[in-house]
């Protein structure tokens, strides 16, 4: 165990790793602060640049972006009342209030410190849970993996977004997209539409750049009215120890909620941040201050969204199933480097897993330092004129897509998936469910077929094995519960209608 951490530290403290993590965290803070760039988009934009790197370094850098973006999001939430990332939406309430009262510097300081505390706590939670869970995961056979994939998709479809039916459609479309290309099981080409380029299927990296980054550019161009410029001189003022101690309840609430959301498939910290805000208010000694400039109202959501950066890696590292946008991009980076995510990572390539553990700790410290130093430059970039910004991003995604395999095909994929992603956002579909479908397509199908091969065609194998039976039952409940509730409400409404006459 300890030699593995030493191995990880050896990689994380190489000068190149430190440099790349610094770049990653700085870019994360800037991208997070920009309201047009969410954390996952900032990560997706860097994906093509990680190509030539050592996989361990690439993952550390991307984790750095993820971590930095969680703090960056609060900069614009506090200063211009616009969350830079969805995870910072809850910080707008008290953050902007504090800024109006002249305490913007203190609000930024609290966000930075509590974010760092949350981030570091989450790495320890990650280590504490992922290592034993990976041993459990090793015992999983094909039926369990099939059931886990279905369960993950069911959770994403029903918990993210408001519309279960549209969520399920999105997930199914992702699975369908994943079937194009060479069937991994028998080597037969499918749905290639006669194209040689499609033989290798839809490249996951290109799909994610399209669905996460290009769709956001399209949205900003077509619908957004932009955001305010940050005016005046702003600085960061770190809270004193006494003040920090007063925030401990809020931070504990943030850690608990962030851990739960990281483990369940969810929306990148946004839900955890809002629940933490509510719970911190309930447990606070001064609930009346919430909404009128409470430091606890920043501490709770900002701790929670940074906790998610670590705990979201747990399902990814142990089962190879990502539960958030950020984790999905980490998975794409692994595949880009030919690494199979899942429990065998811990045995086969411990330098990657333990390098990531140590690297995430380092990245959180870097966030504290850079967050303090890099406030001015981040503000300058938030104030860049939007046409320049989006033209630049468009150039980066198109060239980045080309560089994935040195051909035009991925550029087309990026444009088309970007258009699909934007349309889905606009009409209430669930982009994350589609990405998860694309990611899990192979896992679900291959394990379905493998299971039936083992059971000699007996479909009951999925239910006679306890873990897979339980997971599939949960998946069914997740999907059926909202439908049953709707039917019951309709019946009640119909029964009440004639009475009203």
């Amino acid at each position: 165990m300890f030699e593995r951490f030493a191995l990880g530290a050896q990689i994380a403290f190489q000068p190149l790793s430190l440099l790349m993590m610094t770049v990653g965290v700085a870019w994360g803070i800037i991208g997070g602060a920009l309201p047009g760039i969410s954390g996952s988009m900032a990560m997706a934009l860097l994906l093509p640049l990680t190509f030539g790197m050592d996989p361990a370094v690439a993952l550390m850098m991307l984790a750095g972006v993820y971590i930095g973006a969680m703090y960056g999001g609060s900069i614009s939430a506090i200063l211009i009342r616009t969350p830079g990332t969805p995870g910072a939406a809850a910080s707008v309430i008290d953050g902007y209030e504090l800024h109006k009262q002249g305490f913007g510097a203190k609000a930024l300081g609290v966000s930075l410190i509590t974010g760092t505390v949350g981030g570091i706590a989450s790495v320890f939670i990650l280590i504490g849970l992922a290592v034993p869970l990976s041993k459990v995961a090793l015992a999983f056979g094909p039926p369990e993996y099939f059931a886990l994939g279905v369960f993950g998709l069911a959770l994403i479809s029903s918990f993210v977004g408001r519309d279960l039916l549209k969520g399920m459609i999105s997930g199914t479309l992702g699975l369908i997209l994943a079937t194009a290309g060479t069937d991994p099981f028998s080597g037969t080409p499918r749905f290639t539409l006669g194209s040689i380029d499609l033989l290798t299927g839809v490249e996951l990296v290109a799909g994610m750049i399209g669905l996460f980054a290009v769709s956001e550019v399209f949205y900003q161009i077509a619908e957004s009215e932009g955001w305010e410029r940050i005016k005046g001189k702003v600085s960061t003022q770190l809270p004193a120890w006494v003040e920090l101690v007063k925030l401990k309840t809020a931070m504990i609430v943030g850690i608990v909620m962030g851990t739960i959301e990281g483990l369940l498939p969810g929306g990148g910290g946004a839900i955890a941040a809002f629940i933490s805000y509510d719970q911190a208010k309930r447990w606070s000694k001064h609930p009346e201050e919430f909404g009128h400039g409470s430091l606890e109202g920043i501490a709770a959501p900002e701790t929670a969204n940074n906790v998610v950066t670590g705990t979201a890696m747990i399902p990814l590292l142990t089962f190879g199933i990502p539960g958030s946008n950020g984790a999905a991009i980490m998975l794409a980076a692994m595949l880009l480097h030919g690494i199979q995510a899942g429990p065998q990572l811990f045995e086969r390539t411990p330098q990657i897993v333990y390098g990531l553990f140590v690297g995430m700790l380092v990245a959180n410290v870097l966030m504290l330092i850079l967050g303090y130093l890099a406030l001015r430059p981040s503000i300058a970039i938030v104030n860049v004129r939007r046409p320049y910004l989006f033209a630049g991003i468009l150039g980066l995604v198109l060239v980045g897509a080309y560089s994935i395999s040195n051909r035009m095909f991925e550029v087309w994929v990026v444009l088309i998936t970007g258009l699909i992603g934007y349309g889905m956002r606009r009409y209430g579909y669930n982009v994350l469910a589609m990405v998860l479908g694309l990611v899990l397509g192979f896992i679900v199908e291959a394990n379905l077929r493998r299971s039936l091969l083992i059971s000699i065609g007996n479909p009951w194998v999925f239910f006679t094995r306890p873990i897979s039976g339980l997971l599939l039952t949960f998946a069914l409940i997740t999907l059926l519960w909202p439908i049953l509730r709707q039917v019951r409400e309709d019946r009640r409404a119909r029964a009440a209608a004639p009475a009203r006459g």
């Binding site: 039916l165 199914t172 069937d183 399209f218 046409p387 150039g395 009409y427 199908e445």
Partner: protein, 143 residues
């Protein structure tokens, strides 16, 4: 949303049908694989068709989300889309160093920035930065 749901529902139904029919042109794999490469796609096609019908029924019975989709600057959006598509078409023919600044300049202009010095400087600067990063540092062979 109702009209959009009806249109999307119909589109998905047609797509599910096409996808299902395409699955018949797959050559069957080795015999020990009971399900074969066409089973899972057919399952997905059926599931999608059922969901598309549910979407249609919901929209037809007036139970869609009543909120209309947000306003959109359709002209600018389509112009950017056409430009980006033209760029992807022309990139292999005219080369990166020529096509990129033109695309970027046009997008900046379309998004409402009419200050020529800034526009030209950004278009050229971003192209140069991309060139340095991808060609010089990552050794990508751009067209």
């Amino acid at each position: 949303m109702r009209r959009a749901d009806l249109l999307v529902g119909l589109g998905l139904l047609v797509f599910a049908g096409l996808y299902f029919s395409q699955s018949f042109s797959i050559v069957r794999g080795f015999a020990s694989d009971r399900l074969g490469p066409a089973f899972f796609p057919r399952l997905l096609a059926l599931a999608l068709a059922v969901m598309a019908v549910a979407l249609l029924v919901r929209a037809a019975s007036g139970r869609s989300d009543p909120e209309p989709p947000p306003r959109m600057k359709i002209g600018v959006f389509i112009a950017v889309l056409v430009l980006a598509t033209a760029y992807v078409f022309l990139l292999p023919r005219v080369g990166f160093l020529f096509a990129t600044p033109v695309l970027l300049g046009a997008v900046i202009w379309l998004l409402g920035m009419r200050q020529w010095p800034g526009l030209i400087a950004t278009a050229a600067g971003v192209t140069l930065a991309l060139y340095v990063v991808f060609v010089r540092m990552l050794h990508v062979l751009l067209p």
